[in-house]
């Protein structure tokens, strides 16, 4: 009869973290940036149907990198949590902080439970406030920790390089077009430092727009509107006004 080898808890955790990190690194990265009128989500996504970004509630958006079936599961859980909260109490009682806590608990439990394999996902939960000071962005790595972020966040494969690029260049009060262009520049940098072109059709873009009159601030940007925003520098300050 074979006796199981002894594996120290440190080693076991390190292995699990390594496994999750590798899984996340295989996927494409995405970035979340604050701009003057809200928060913009930008990622490379060849699929039209499988979204990386989605609406959770009125002011709350969700972004995920990693394995689709795992983050989709978490997304639906988040929508249920938010809708149930809002129905039982009030729409104002649904907050990104509460949601991030639920996600952290779930991810943390799965990560440290020996029965399950760790989730290969990294999430971003963002809430747009009445003013830029009220914006909240939380990053949730695979192990269930929460990182409170400001300005810009990158998750996924090439996250470290992209976020240092963003940190240097991101400014407060950027327009949507400026933020979008910066995000695309950041995403098109490869691991080896070279740059490649990402066509507009391969981009998935969504915003939480605080200027939207409806309660639900989330909207997707695609097609002609996206190409217009990504287009030339001079004309888009004019074209942005008519939105």
């Amino acid at each position: 009869m074979s006796t199981p080898f002894y594996v120290s808890p440190q080693q076991a955790m390190a292995d699990r973290a390594e496994y999750a990190r590798k899984g996340i690194a295989r996927g494409r990265s995405l970035v979340v940036l604050q701009f003057a009128d809200g928060i913009v989500f930008v990622g490379e996504n060849p699929s039209r149907a499988l979204h990386k970004f989605s609406e959770i509630y009125d002011r709350i958006g969700f972004a995920a990198a990693g394995k689709y079936n795992e983050y989709e599961n978490l997304r639906i859980g988040g929508v249920r949590y938010a809708d149930l909260r809002g129905y039982t109490y009030d729409r104002d009682d649904v907050t990104a902080r509460g949601l991030a806590n639920v996600y952290a608990q779930t991810l943390g439990t799965i990560f440290s439970s020996a029965a399950e394999k760790p989730y290969e996902v990294e999430l971003v939960v963002a809430e747009v406030g009445e003013t830029p000071e009220g914006d909240q962005i939380y990053r949730l790595p695979h192990d269930g920790s929460i990182v409170d972020e400001h300005g810009s966040v990158a998750v996924g494969g090439n996250a470290e390089q992209i976020s240092s690029y963003l940190d240097q260049r991101h400014q407060e009060g950027m327009t949507l077009a400026e933020a979008l262009k910066l995000a695309v520049q950041a995403l098109s940098r490869d691991t080896n430092g070279s740059e490649r072109e990402i066509p507009a059709e391969r981009l998935e873009v969504a915003v939480l727009d605080r200027t939207r009159p409806q309660k639900r601030k989330f909207r997707r940007i695609s097609g002609p509107q996206l190409s217009r925003l990504l287009g030339g520098g001079a004309e888009d300050s004019a074209s942005e006004d008519d939105e």
Partner: protein, 258 residues
């Protein structure tokens, strides 16, 4: 709702046990709701009165709610239960949209509401009925549609116009005479306010426009641009112009005899 019935059944309206009661339970009731289609959309409107027996329980109750971007519900019947039903209905539509990434079809929304009314049958038997009117813009077919219900959840699609609530008989009569196929959006909004005026004229539980308190009917329009509720000044303008004409002709516009 399936999720709720598994996890928190106590917050769903249909799952409450009622103690047996004698006679009718006194609770505020909402009254008249009318809807009319026009080329390009549908108008849904309601008066502002809630009654409890012979007492006016509330003068400025709101009985027309957006269900989602392209549909609205107007409620007649027990106000408390109806408002809760609408809240749950709104939640379900929004939840479906977020989880599935697509909106329910208008038919699907109407069926869903039907099930919710049916789950209230026990209460309805004790006099706490909820009878809504559902109207929406069918994005696939490109036109406005109206669905009416009975207390058992029976659903039927209405053509051109519909009304529900205590004043509905009078409102329907008015709309029958005023409706035509080529109404503009402005004509349709005037028509529903005329119908509500006639309902208030003959039904004591329906409130007419209250000029002194500036309380006017709620009028909502749903087109391919989505749901829009007329502002107070727009609604007051329609109500005042009707009122002015009725000072000369108290029974309102006359239709041709033949």
């Amino acid at each position: 709702m399936d999720f709720l019935s598994e996890h928190q059944p106590e917050i769903l309206p249909g799952n409450r046990q009622l103690p047996p009661t004698q006679g009718v339970i006194e609770a505020p009731h909402g009254t008249t709701i009318v809807a009319v289609t026009f080329p390009g959309g549908v108008v849904l409107a309601g008066d502002r009165r809630a009654t409890m027996g012979n007492v006016i329980a509330q003068r400025d109750i709101e009985k027309v709610f957006p269900a989602d971007e392209y549909s609205a519900v107007g409620i007649a019947g027990t106000a408390g239960l109806a408002v809760e039903m609408v809240k749950l209905f709104q939640l379900e539509l929004e939840h479906f949209e977020k989880v599935e990434g697509a909106q329910l079809s208008l038919e699907g929304k109407a069926n869903r509401l039907s099930t919710m009314i049916r789950s209230n049958l026990g209460m309805a038997m004790q006099g706490l009925a909820v009878v809504p009117l559902f109207a929406g813009y069918d994005v696939d077919r490109g036109r406005g549609r109206i669905f009416s219900y009975d207390v058992t959840g029976g659903r039927s699609e209405e053509h051109n116009f519909a009304a529900t609530g205590s004043g509905s008989i009078f409102a329907r009569g008015a709309m029958k005479k005023l409706f035509r196929d080529d109404l503009s959006e402005a004509d349709a909004t005037t028509l529903v306010v005329q119908a509500l005026y006639d309902a208030a004229d003959d039904d004591s539980a329906t409130g007419g426009p209250d000029v002194a308190r500036r309380i006017y009917p709620i009028v909502t329009v749903i087109t391919d641009d989505g749901f829009r509720r007329l502002t107070e000044s727009e609604a007051s303008e329609i109500a005042r112009s009707i009122l002015e004409r009725r000072l000369e002709q108290p029974d309102g516009p006359r239709a041709a005899l033949l």
